[in-house]
Symmetry: C2
Subunit: 132 residues, 2 copies
DNA sequence: CTTGTGGTTCAAGCGCGCTTGAAGTCAAGG
DNA sequence: CCTTGACTTCAAGCGCGCTTGAACCACAAG
């Protein structure tokens, strides 16, 4: 199976066809080949949608993802992508750290037997004593 | 400074006063004490807002965070919070893994000198060969 | 007293990421 | 032939997380 209809693709990537059309309209997916008016996708689209979903989970907006994926492959795009990527890596790092902290906090808090997250004695990070 | 007005609090936590009022309206923050009609917050609110923001970044909805923080501290709430927390920990773990993967992918891709994320030779993960 | 600053409530609006509805096209099956 | 069902386009709608605007209130400085 080297090609997919929009329904098949949607089922595989667990999105609705409408979402895929929406992505196309935003330039997140290249304009699909049409066969008697219907979209037909190459199998490689699976990978692309997987990337989109992953980036999305990591907090990129669809507009940013569009830049990352560089659908139109225009001349300056490579540099654009590099700039965005360089900007995003430290953001991702910080994000990962924070999420780790939250995960551990939740786990510790469960272990300590406290009533709820807010009242847990173990938690102290993240309280801004600092700035004005 | 043990108590804060809404403007002070907003400045410290880097949110707008409107967001704090909104949180209160959702039950995310306890109904603030009023002094001649105006909200006055104890310093502990800083910590609470920090928790809210952290949980939010980790992909919890405000409704879920409300449950985690258990504002109303009702009888069954402790169990509710534990259930939610237990459900969320593996989600957070998976999320962290995925974000790590993305971070590394972006970094590798930058290093490999490819044109863009989609065309990078190094990337192969995340392609669903599996299910129907 | 007046003006300014920063609060209050409430309802409406906005941006994002889709979804839904209306109206139409096409291909296969009974 | 006629239905069924999956698709098409386009515009409008929705839920979330706030923001904004209108109308009002309270205290402080000039």
């Amino acid at each position: 199976m080297r090609e997919l209809g929009i329904g098949d693709l949607a089922r595989k990537v667990k999105l609705r066809p409408s979402a895929l059309r929406y992505y196309e309209s935003l330039g997140l997916l290249p304009t699909a080949r049409r066969v008697t008016g219907r979209r037909v996708y190459p199998a490689s689209t699976l990978r692309r949608v997987a990337l989109i979903k992953m980036a999305q989970r990591a907090g990129f907006t669809l507009a940013e993802i569009r830049q990352l994926l560089d659908t139109d492959a225009d001349r300056g795009a490579t540099k654009q992508w590099r700039t965005l990527a360089e900007r995003k890596i430290p953001e991702l790092d910080q994000f990962i750290q924070e999420t780790q902290a939250l995960r551990n906090a939740v786990a510790d808090c469960l272990a300590c037997g406290c009533m709820n997250f807010d009242s847990c004695q173990l938690l102290s990070y993240g309280t801004p004593e600092d700035d004005a």
